[in-house]
């Protein structure tokens, strides 16, 4: 039985670790400036935790077999513990855990403590049951007013976000169901939610932030590769949660300008 336990524990440990090491299913390709740092911190964490995992499960399996009761087993060492050992492993654990956290904290600070760069492109992201809309402020660089009274989700785009066309600043606002961004430029996101909490999740950008009704949340990231990247909703928002998705298209600055100009032209 001791051997059976050792076998099952070690096998489970082996298979679990194997799929981590082989990265059979892994973080999606990272395409933002934050990705490298986040992935590094992730790697550090998973290596350290992996070592602890293998060591602890290995020890468990080993001990239950090694110290199984049998005729020729050694006498039990009657002891209530070892205080020095307790102190040692307590301190080591504290150092490991807190140290690991502190190492990741400057990445967090970079991503979240500082506001967006001055040259960033502002985009307002609005989540509602069950779609994402993206608003660009247009040539005046200002977002026009929106009003809940003017919101009509069935009409899509401008009407869905309740754009108040009587506001002069709103006339050049572009609202789209697909998010376009120029590559290598930071985006200053304004996250809003109209009805319930949603969460704007772009796996390839290592970006996630809840969109909360009643709050206007500013967040930023910088895409460094062109391509199409899927957007998922990551906070339960109702029956359409699983299909509340969008698409982020990162293009060159000129392609972005062309796209925006085309959208502006359509509005006339």
């Amino acid at each position: 039985m001791g051997l059976a336990l050792l076998a099952i524990i070690w096998l489970i440990t082996f298979f679990s670790t194997y799929f981590f090491v082989a990265k059979t299913w892994w973080l999606p390709h990272g395409a933002s400036t934050a990705a490298a740092f986040i992935d590094n911190q992730f790697a550090l964490t998973y290596v350290l935790m992996g070592i602890v995992f293998v060591a602890a499960q290995g020890a468990l399996g080993l001990f239950v077999w090694q110290y199984r009761d049998r005729k020729d087993a050694k006498k039990v060492e009657y002891s209530h513990g070892n205080t020095r050992l307790e102190v040692v492993w307590t301190v080591l654990t504290a150092v490991l855990f807190v140290g690991l956290n502190l190492m990741g904290s400057n990445v967090w600070a970079r991503e979240r403590f500082a506001p967006a760069d001055p040259g960033s492109i502002p985009v307002e992201v609005t989540g509602m049951q069950f779609a994402w809309y993206f608003r660009y402020p247009g040539a005046d660089g200002k977002f026009g007013a929106t009003s809940p009274k003017l919101m009509d989700p069935s009409a899509g785009n401008e009407a869905a976000v309740g754009l108040d066309t009587s506001d002069p600043a709103a006339k050049d606002d572009v609202v789209a169901g697909t998010m376009y961004l120029p590559v290598n430029r930071q985006v200053d996101l304004r996250l809003r939610a109209v009805d319930v909490i949603h969460s704007f999740f772009v796996p390839n950008m290592r970006f996630k932030q809840d969109a909360v009704p009643g709050l206007e949340i500013h967040m930023h990231f910088t895409p460094i590769e062109t391509g199409d990247f899927e957007i998922a909703c990551a906070e339960l928002c109702g029956l359409g949660h699983y299909k509340m998705h969008g698409m982020l298209k990162v293009v060159s600055q000129e392609d972005f300008d062309k796209w925006l100009a085309a959208r502006e032209a359509e509005k006339q």
Partner: protein
């Protein structure tokens, strides 16, 4: 019946009775068990143990109740300081509306409640004396001067009812001034805080009524004493909670 087996020989020569974990609603008089011992045994120390245990239970229970009021307080304070998004301007504004409280009425209610605290304390001491003297009264030939039997318990119940009526009148007055439950976050919290307190007090009132009823049914005085004693401490605590809530609503507007 308490016996002790040979395998449990101890150096302590006293026979221990099993612990009697009596509930706060015990219906039997304390049983004189066999032998002394510091736990269980003769009636009065067993009764003293039950009182102590019930008081301990009350203290523990009041911790839970405190957490409810702590939660409501933190909601109050947090909401008061919270800027909210104004959809028209797109900016954040403070929308905490100062409620005009019917302070005079509330002061009267406070006075009634504090008075009831005094009367419930008198009731508590009254029944403590009665419980202490009960064994002695039954000795033939002993006559203890009859003390004036002022119904402190009944007076407390009346004052408690008066307080609750006063609170209801205060809510009516708030309504007259345009502050209903859903009018604003500040008015909502006033109703929630005072309502939670009123519910607690009403519960205490019901227990006091029960204590009074058991007196009429001639339940043993020791059991009634435990009920009145613990409820009296609960009552004092609820008076303190009221003072706290009143102060919060008055000074943290």
């Amino acid at each position: 019946m308490a016996t002790f087996s040979s395998t449990v020989t101890t150096t302590d020569p006293v026979v221990k009775d099993p612990k009697t974990g009596r509930g706060s609603g015990g219906t039997r008089p304390p049983v004189p068990g066999g032998g002394g011992g510091d736990r269980g045994g003769n009636g009065s120390s067993d009764h003293g143990e039950r009182l102590r245990r019930t008081r301990l239970g009350l203290i523990v229970g009041l911790v839970a109740s405190t957490m409810v009021f702590v939660s409501f307080t933190s909601v109050y304070v947090m909401r008061r300081g919270l800027p909210t998004l104004d959809d028209r301007t797109g900016g954040y504004v403070r929308d905490w509306l100062q409620v005009s409280l019917p302070t005079t009425l509330l002061l009267v209610n406070t006075f009634l409640l504090l008075l009831s605290s005094i009367t419930v304390e008198l009731a508590r001491r009254q029944i403590t004396r009665q419980a202490a003297l009960a064994p002695v009264r039954s000795i033939p030939g002993v006559s203890i001067g009859k003390e004036p039997n002022i119904p402190w318990l009944g007076i407390t119940v009346a004052l408690g009812l008066a307080f609750l009526t006063g609170q209801w009148m205060a809510w009516r007055e708030l309504g007259n001034r345009g502050f209903y439950l859903a009018t604003s976050p500040s008015s909502s919290m006033i109703y929630v805080l005072t309502g939670a307190h009123a519910l607690h007090l009403a519960g205490g009132l019901l227990v006091l009524l029960y204590a009074g009823a058991t007196a009429l049914r001639h339940k043993p005085v020791e059991d009634r004493r435990i009920v009145v004693d613990v409820t009296a401490w609960y009552w004092h605590f609820m008076a303190l909670v009221w003072l706290y809530i009143f102060a919060l609503l008055e000074f943290v507007r």
